[in-house]
């Protein structure tokens, strides 16, 4: 059987370069919140200040497939009547629209953890925000790399 190289060098180089760029995005420290996300957050908070912390946005830094990405948002909070999470929302930077999900919680939830599966159109930044009963807003921003599936219809 004719054992030609699988890819010719130019294609292989392109692929390696692409993945190299992707890896750079994954390992660099989180960049400042993009304008799109700042605007989306302002819509959710009504202009109230937000702080990084208390929220953990769990998502793969390099997703297997952008069509179905498992996410879990956890908030460090006791969920008592006096001190609980009232809302958790997720916003994206580069999908056709910013909103992903907006949840309302009550103290009867017990543990402020929400899991779902989302669609990501491309490599982008995402932010999860929690509103606490004392009126404060807490965020966690993540950068995610999304590649197209190798074999599609």
């Amino acid at each position: 059987m004719n054992d030609r190289p699988l890819f010719d060098p130019s294609r292989r180089d392109l692929l390696a370069a692409g993945l190299g760029v992707g890896l750079c995005v994954v390992w660099r420290p989180a960049r400042a919140l993009s304008d799109e996300l700042t605007g989306a957050l302002r819509g959710f908070t009504g202009g109230a200040p937000t702080r990084e912390g208390k929220v953990n946005f769990d998502i793969a830094p390099l997703v297997e497939n952008g069509n179905t990405v498992p996410i879990t948002v956890t908030v460090d909070n006791p969920m008592t009547t006096a001190n609980h999470v009232q809302a958790i929302a997720v916003f994206n930077e580069k999908n056709p629209q910013r909103e992903v999900i907006a949840c309302k919680l009550t103290p009867r939830v017990g543990r402020p953890v929400v899991s779902t599966r989302i669609r990501l159109a491309t490599t982008q930044q995402l932010v999860a925000v929690a509103k606490l009963s004392d009126g404060s807003y807490w965020t966690h921003t993540v950068d995610v790399v999304v590649t197209l599936a190798a074999c599609i219809e």
Binding site: E64, T68, A150
Partner: protein
């Protein structure tokens, strides 16, 4: 360490036959996606299995349900998916599980066959194959399947398409390597029908093969064509011994 891994990779690249150590595509997935498959209450494929259970007991047309002849699928269908594709002695050709289901419908239930990739067919196929979950794939030993299977193997090793690639080049020689952002799996067929994240839905092996064929810019043969079934036949043999995972979740 890296040099050893590189050497091993290089050595395995020259292997002509199926990989010595068979690894399910499950192993190349991230823990998050593995968890999605493992938990029956998170696995979207189980929605189709649940649909299939309803269809199993449904009376189609004016005759009877699958359950009428086959009873409790948990008993009667156990091991069935493990040996398919199998030989159909009436039409004298190999048939895969979807074709077998349709043969039951046309020959015994006297109703129209279900279209390929229809939600009902995927549900029924998922339900039947699910009853063999955990059992090793054990292709039928019918002698009549030898020649079609050999033709399937030749297809597997034939370079095709504008990209001039064969299945063997990626899946026998380069599993574990990267293709864009995806890890190349060994390409086993132990989880079909599968919930593919790319489809956000359930699909059969034939649908997945058509994706691969489009990927190398070849013209996919029609659903249920002879070439498709012969290729499925070879792939089932190639995956022999791997435990069935239906409904699997794959990227």
């Amino acid at each position: 360490m890296l040099a050893l891994a590189w050497l091993l990779g290089w050595a395995s690249a020259f292997a002509q036959s199926a990989p010595d150590s068979k690894r399910s595509g499950f192993d190349t997935m991230s823990p998050r996606i593995q968890a999605m498959q493992r938990d029956d209450q998170q696995n979207p494929g189980m929605l189709w299995v649940a649909d299939g259970e309803v269809l199993w007991n449904k009376i189609f047309g004016i005759t009877f349900s699958c359950a009428h002849c086959h009873g409790d699928a948990k008993k009667s269908m156990r091991g069935v998916a493990a040996r398919y594709p199998d030989w159909d002695p009436i039409d004298k050709k190999p048939v895969d599980l979807t074709q077998r289901i349709n043969l039951c419908r046309t020959r015994h239930q006297l109703v129209l066959p279900l279209p390929p990739e229809s939600e009902e067919m995927l549900g029924l196929e998922a339900y039947v194959a699910h009853q063999s979950r955990g059992m090793p794939m054990a292709p039928s030993a019918a002698k009549e399947l030898d020649a079609p299977r050999e033709r399937g193997r030749q297809q597997y090793e034939q370079r095709i398409g504008q990209l001039n690639l064969s299945c063997a080049l990626c899946h026998d020689k380069l599993p574990g390597h990267m293709l864009a952002g995806a890890t190349i799996p060994q390409g086993h067929v132990n989880g079909y029908p599968t919930y593919r994240l790319e489809w956000q839905g359930m699909g059969s092996l034939q649908r997945r093969l058509r994706n691969c064929l489009s990927g190398v810019r070849a013209e996919p043969p029609p659903f249920n064509s002879t070439e498709m079934v012969e290729l499925e036949l070879y792939l089932a043999q190639r995956s022999a011994g791997l435990k069935i995972e239906t409904p699997a979740v794959r990227p």
